[in-house]
C-alpha cells in the first residue's frame, strides 16, 4: 500500500480494515485536537507552565490519546481523559523544573489597565478584576475544581484527577461559587 496516509511515504502495511479504523480514529482525535487544544493549553498555563511548555505539553497529550486509543484502551469521555492526562503531565513538568518559577500571568495588572480593553466600561473592568482576585483567593483545590468543572468534567472525573471523592469535589465547587458571589 503506497502513501495514502496523509502523504507519508509507505509505512507498515496495514490491513484495509485496520487502515479504515486508524483513519477514523485519526480524524476523531484530530477533531478533538482542533476543538480542545486551546482550552488544554490555557489549563496548563493555570497550572503554572510557561507558554511554550504548555503548548508542547498540550500537543503531546493528544498524541498520547491517539496512542492509547490505537492500543485499544476504552476511553469513554475523551475530553475528560485529555484534561486528566494534561493535569498530571503538567504537574510532572512543574515538579521536574521546581527551580524555575511557575508562570504567573499578570492578570490583575492587565485587568486594571484601562488601555487594555477600551471597549469595556469601568464597571465591567472592576467586575473582572474582582473575579480574578476572588479566584486567586480560593484554595488550590477549589481553584482546580472550578477550572476543571468549567472545562466540562463531571465530579467523579474531577475527583479522579485530584485524588478526592466526588462529594468533596461538590463541596469545593460550592465553596468556590459562594466565594465568587460574596466577593463580587
Amino acid at each position: 500500500m503506497t502513501g495514502k496516509l496523509n502523504g507519508e511515504a509507505a509505512t507498515a502495511p496495514l490491513s484495509i480494515a485496520g487502515w479504515n479504523n486508524a483513519m477514523t480514529l485519526r480524524d476523531e482525535v484530530a477533531q478533538l485536537y482542533e476543538e480542545a487544544r486551546e482550552d488544554v493549553y490555557r489549563y496548563l498555563l493555570t497550572l503554572g507552565l510557561h507558554p511554550p511548555q504548555a503548548q508542547e505539553a498540550a500537543q503531546d497529550v493528544f498524541l498520547r490519546l491517539y496512542a492509547a486509543l490505537r492500543k485499544g484502551d476504552d476511553i469513554r469521555n475523551r475530553r475528560a481523559w485529555v484534561f486528566r492526562v494534561a493535569h498530571n503531565h503538567g504537574l510532572n513538568v512543574r515538579a521536574r523544573e521546581a527551580r524555575a518559577t511557575p508562570f504567573a500571568p499578570e492578570l490583575e495588572a492587565q485587568l486594571s489597565d484601562p488601555g487594555q480593553g477600551p471597549e469595556r466600561t469601568l464597571i465591567e473592568r472592576e467586575r473582572l478584576l474582582c473575579l480574578q482576585k476572588a479566584v486567586a483567593s480560593l484554595s488550590e483545590q477549589q481553584r482546580r475544581c472550578l477550572h476543571l468543572r468549567a472545562e466540562g468534567l463531571r465530579y467523579p472525573e474531577i475527583g479522579e484527577v485530584l485524588g478526592i471523592s466526588p462529594s468533596t469535589v461538590g463541596e469545593f465547587l460550592r465553596r468556590a461559587l459562594v466565594r465568587l458571589r460574596q466577593r463580587c
Binding site: 493549553y41 493528544f62 492500543k71 477550572h147
Partner: protein
C-alpha cells in the same frame, strides 16, 4: 432515609442537582422541595449566578488575557502516523531482530524507528523501557528539554542496560516526596517511602489501577526509585470519619435544637469531621517529612535540596493553617449551641521554631482535637456535652 420536606436542602444538594450529580431519588426529593421552598430556590439561583460568574471569568479573564500560544499549532498527523507505524510489532520486531544480528550500528536506528514511545497511563513496569518516538514534525522547535526517555545511541540495544548506580540519597527520596506532593498522594493515601538497599522504595497497598498508573507516571522518571505495589481488597479511600454517624445522645439534643434539627446537626457534624480528617492528613504529612528529614539529614542536603524541602514543608504548613481556620469556623456553631467559649487565638503550649519539632507538636494537638471532636459528635464519650465542648475549645486553641 426519608427527610421531611420542610427541612432545607443543603448547598451541596442544590449544586449537585444543578450539575446532575445527585442519584435519582435524591434529585427527585430536592426538586420536590424546590417547588415548595422559595428560600432554597433563591439559594439555587444564587449558585447559578456563581456559575455564570465562573464562566464570565473563564471567557473574559482567562480567554481574554492569557497569552496566546507562542507557535502555530503543529499538525497531529505526522505524530499519529509514526504511532501507527510503530504499532505493527511483528514487522518491526522481525526487522529489528534481523538487523540487530547483522548490522549492529544500524540496528539501533531501525529499532528506534520501529519502537513506539509510550508513556502515560498505559505504561506498565513490565514493558521494556520506551524509546523516544521520532516525531520532530509535532514539536515546532528543536528539543531543548530532555525527553522523558533518552534516545539510546547507536549500538545500544532497545532494552537499556542500567549501569551500576550510586546509592539513593536523601535528596533522591526528597524528589519522590515532591512528586507525591504534586499528585496529592502524601495525604493519607497508603503510600510508604523508605530507602532500602540503595534505592528509594515506594510501596503502596490497595491503590486503584488508575491511581497506580498516575503514580508510576510521576515516579518513573526519578533516579534510583523502585515501586512496589501490593493489591489488597482495601478501598482507595483512607480511613476517616465517613462511617461515623452522629448518634442521638442527650448531650447532642441541645445542639440539635439550636442548629435547627437533626439534618442540620448531621451536616455540621459531617463538615467538622471532614475538616478534621483533612487537617489530620496534613499534620501526618508534615510529621512524616519531619521524621524522614530530621535536622541532621536536612543539614546534609545540597542547597537546592534544602530549598525543595523547605518548599514542601511550607506548602503543608500553609494548607494546615488554612484548614485549621476552616475547621475552627465549622466547629463554631456547635460551640455556640453549647454556649462554650469560642476559642481565642492563644494556646497554652509554646510553639517550637524548629519545623521538625513543630510538626511533632502539630500532629499531637491535631490528634487530640480529632479525638475530642469524635467523642463529642459521635457519641463515644458518655460525659456531659458542655464539659466536652470546653475540651474541644481548648484543643482548638492549641492548633496553630
Amino acid at each position: 432515609m426519608e427527610r421531611a420536606q420542610n427541612i432545607h436542602a443543603s448547598g451541596e444538594e442544590l449544586l449537585g442537582l444543578l450539575d446532575g450529580e445527585l442519584p435519582d431519588s435524591e434529585a427527585r426529593r430536592v426538586r420536590a422541595h424546590l417547588e415548595a421552598c422559595w428560600q432554597c430556590r433563591e439559594s439555587s439561583e444564587e449558585l447559578q449566578r456563581g456559575i455564570a460568574d465562573a464562566l464570565l471569568y473563564r471567557r473574559e479573564v482567562l480567554q481574554g488575557h492569557l497569552p496566546r500560544p507562542p507557535s502555530p499549532w503543529a499538525g497531529l498527523h505526522a505524530g499519529m502516523a509514526a504511532i501507527d507505524a510503530a504499532t505493527q510489532p511483528s514487522w518491526a520486531e522481525r526487522l529489528s531482530r534481523a538487523l540487530r544480528r547483522w548490522l549492529p550500528a544500524t540496528a539501533a536506528l531501525a529499532a528506534c524507528a520501529a519502537a513506539v514511545y509510550e508513556w502515560g497511563p498505559e505504561l506498565t513496569r513490565n514493558e521494556p523501557a520506551a524509546v523516544a518516538v521520532p516525531a520532530p514534525a509535532v514539536q515546532p522547535r528543536a528539543v531543548e528539554t530532555a525527553p522523558e526517555r533518552a534516545l539510546p545511541g547507536p549500538g545500544v540495544p532497545t532494552l537499556p542496560q542500567r549501569a551500576p548506580q550510586p546509592e539513593a540519597t536523601p535528596g533522591d527520596e526528597l524528589r519522590v516526596w515532591r512528586a507525591l506532593r504534586a499528585l496529592n498522594a502524601d495525604l493519607g493515601e497508603p503510600v510508604e517511602v523508605k530507602r532500602e538497599s540503595g534505592r528509594v522504595v515506594v510501596s503502596a497497598t490497595g491503590l486503584s489501577p488508575a491511581r497506580r498508573d498516575r503514580l508510576e507516571e510521576a515516579l518513573d522518571s526519578l533516579p534510583r526509585v523502585e515501586l512496589a505495589w501490593t493489591a489488597s481488597p482495601a478501598a482507595e479511600t483512607r480511613p476517616g470519619h465517613a462511617d461515623v454517624r452522629v448518634s442521638a445522645r442527650a448531650g447532642l439534643s441541645a445542639i440539635e435544637e439550636r442548629l435547627g434539627g437533626r439534618a442540620a446537626l448531621d451536616r455540621v457534624a459531617d463538615r467538622v469531621l471532614l475538616a478534621s480528617d483533612d487537617l489530620l492528613a496534613r499534620a501526618h504529612a508534615l510529621h512524616r517529612l519531619a521524621e524522614r528529614f530530621p535536622p541532621t539529614v536536612e543539614a546534609r542536603l545540597s542547597a537546592e535540596e534544602q530549598d525543595m524541602l523547605a518548599a514542601l514543608v511550607q506548602e503543608h504548613r500553609q494548607a494546615f493553617a488554612e484548614q485549621s481556620v476552616e475547621l475552627k469556623q465549622s466547629v463554631r456553631p456547635v460551640l455556640e449551641a453549647l454556649e462554650a467559649a469560642v476559642p481565642g487565638p492563644a494556646g497554652q503550649q509554646p510553639v517550637s521554631s524548629v519545623w521538625q519539632e513543630h510538626a511533632r507538636q502539630s500532629l499531637a494537638v491535631t490528634q487530640q482535637l480529632d479525638r475530642v471532636l469524635t467523642a463529642l459528635l459521635a457519641g463515644e464519650d458518655a460525659g456531659p456535652g458542655e464539659a466536652l465542648a470546653a475540651r474541644v475549645a481548648a484543643a482548638l486553641a492549641e492548633v496553630r
